[in-house]
Amino acid sequence: MSPAGGAASLDVAVTHKDHTSADGRPLRALDELRLTLPIGKAGALVGPSGCGKTTLLRLIAGLDHDYAGHIRLPAHGRLGMVFQEPRLLPWRSVADNIRIAAPEATEQEVAALLDDLSLAEHAAHYPGELSLGLARRAALARALAIKPDLLLLDEPLVSLDAALARELRDKIAALIDEKRITTLVVTHDLSEAIALADRIFLLSPRPARVMTTLDIPTPRGRLGKEAAQALETQAHDALASARRPL
């Protein structure tokens, strides 16, 4: 199966997805995984590491077609993605990386994006000359430049130091709010999910299915500290109960 566009929401209904283990036995990665994310909303996939979050993201991105079920992408199904590794073309400057991925973007749009992400002074730099934080931002600029119908972010804040992570998190939240981009972010960090998403999908350990869906009532970033903590406790309880043997 491969993801089709044309829906008013991102609809995922994966009956199952199997990997093959090293000794040749099938390993179930995803099992009866269903989720819906309306257009313009941000969702977060949260779960223990190795549960299959990135596997699911790869199915949605169309990088893996070997699964049972169906996936419908919002609107025209145009995808922007920020991988864990920035995956920039090392032989092209930051600005060229954006231009090559988004040939229809105007020079003004490219310049505005570079400005938005505080990359203007690095526009002519090669990716190898950037820090990881800057490279992530460049990858985000590239993903936004194509005006995606769905933005996929795979652990966008991982391996950044705390201050840098917070800065980028707020930047992402502001940009997806402002541009009303349907976004799905993969993370293992609940507070990150709460800060970025309108809806959180808590995944079970492998094989992954959606255990609980949490809707965040207030607009992103404006959630009070107590409310955020309450949500975090609720989510932790849900995760803990899933791990407890029945």
């Binding site: 991105a61 169309g62 990088l63 145009r78 995808l79 922007g80 993605m81 991988f83 590794e85 920035p86 995956r87 073309l89 090392p90 032989w91 092209r92 090559i100 991925a101 988004a102 040939p103 090669y126 990716p127 190898g128 000359e129 950037l130 820090s131 990881l132 800057l134 490279a135 590239r142 194509i146």
Partner: protein, 251 residues
């Protein structure tokens, strides 16, 4: 500076060796230089050099473009690789002389047979190098291009070719020196002009100063191509590595 000393020493040794042997066997540098001037004045040197260089370029371009295409397919496709690998091994181990003689027998003593035979000798080397490059293509960038729906043209130009550039450079380096040596053999065996033909004439007349008068300018010419064409091109395609020293990670 060191290169200059090295070169002067070589000239000195040559001169000493020339003094010790008879000039018919080993002419000294001065005598050779005079012959070069003589051949240059008559125009024969330049026309022969140009003819040989044209053959080198034609055979090289033919072998590299065909070899790059075949090597890329073999590097990316396992079935093609298994299918063509025995042919490749056979071709790699076929002596250049056999290919040249067969080409002349089957296609006659023609220009096409000469260039084709040289290209066929270089082809397996180009295939092997480019296949290595195609195998080493970064799957992560491939996926990125897929998600962002790069056109096939953009994928080739921005993702694949920059990764193959160092392999092209390596194949060019080893290829040029291989090709020009084989071109001389092809000319010696079945052409009536070019540096190889002149060297054959020198051999038959036992004229060692003529042999040197053609061999040395041609070596110099190929050195010039390497220094002023291949190396700057290599630096140009690798300019993004400056200060990055090829590291892939981020600071």
């Amino acid at each position: 500076m060191i290169r200059l000393i090295s070169l002067t020493t070589l000239l000195g040794l040559w001169q000493v060796a020339a003094w010790l042997s008879e000039p018919r066997r080993l002419p000294g540098p001065l005598l050779v230089f005079e012959t070069i001037l003589e051949e240059a004045r008559s125009g024969a040197l330049f026309s022969n050099l140009a003819i040989t260089l044209a053959r080198v370029i034609a055979a090289f371009v033919l072998a590299m473009s065909l070899g790059a295409a075949v090597g890329y397919v073999m590097g990316r496709n396992k079935i093609a690789d298994r299918l063509l690998d025995p042919w490749l091994v056979a071709l790699l181990n076929l002596p250049a002389l056999v290919v040249i003689v067969l080409a002349y027998v089957w296609a006659g003593l023609t220009e096409a047979a000469a260039i084709g035979a040289v290209a066929l000798n270089k082809l397996p080397n180009a295939v092997v190098v480019i296949r290595e490059g195609a195998r080493a293509l970064d799957p992560q960038l491939e996926e990125m291009a897929q998600v962002f729906r790069f056109s096939p043209r953009a994928r080739l130009r921005h993702v694949v070719l920059p990764q193959l550039a160092p392999y092209f450079a390596a194949a060019t380096r080893s290829g040029l020196s291989l090709v020009w040596k084989i071109v001389l053999v092809v000319e010696l065996l079945g052409r009536s002009n070019g540096v190889g033909f002149e060297i054959n004439m020198a051999f038959q007349q036992f004229d060692m100063k003529l042999l040197f008068a053609y061999a040395l300018p041609f070596v110099a010419l190929m050195l010039g191509v390497e220094t002023f064409l291949v190396q700057p091109l290599e630096r140009h395609v690798a300019r993004w590595r400056r200060g990055v020293a090829g590291r892939r990670g981020y600071a």
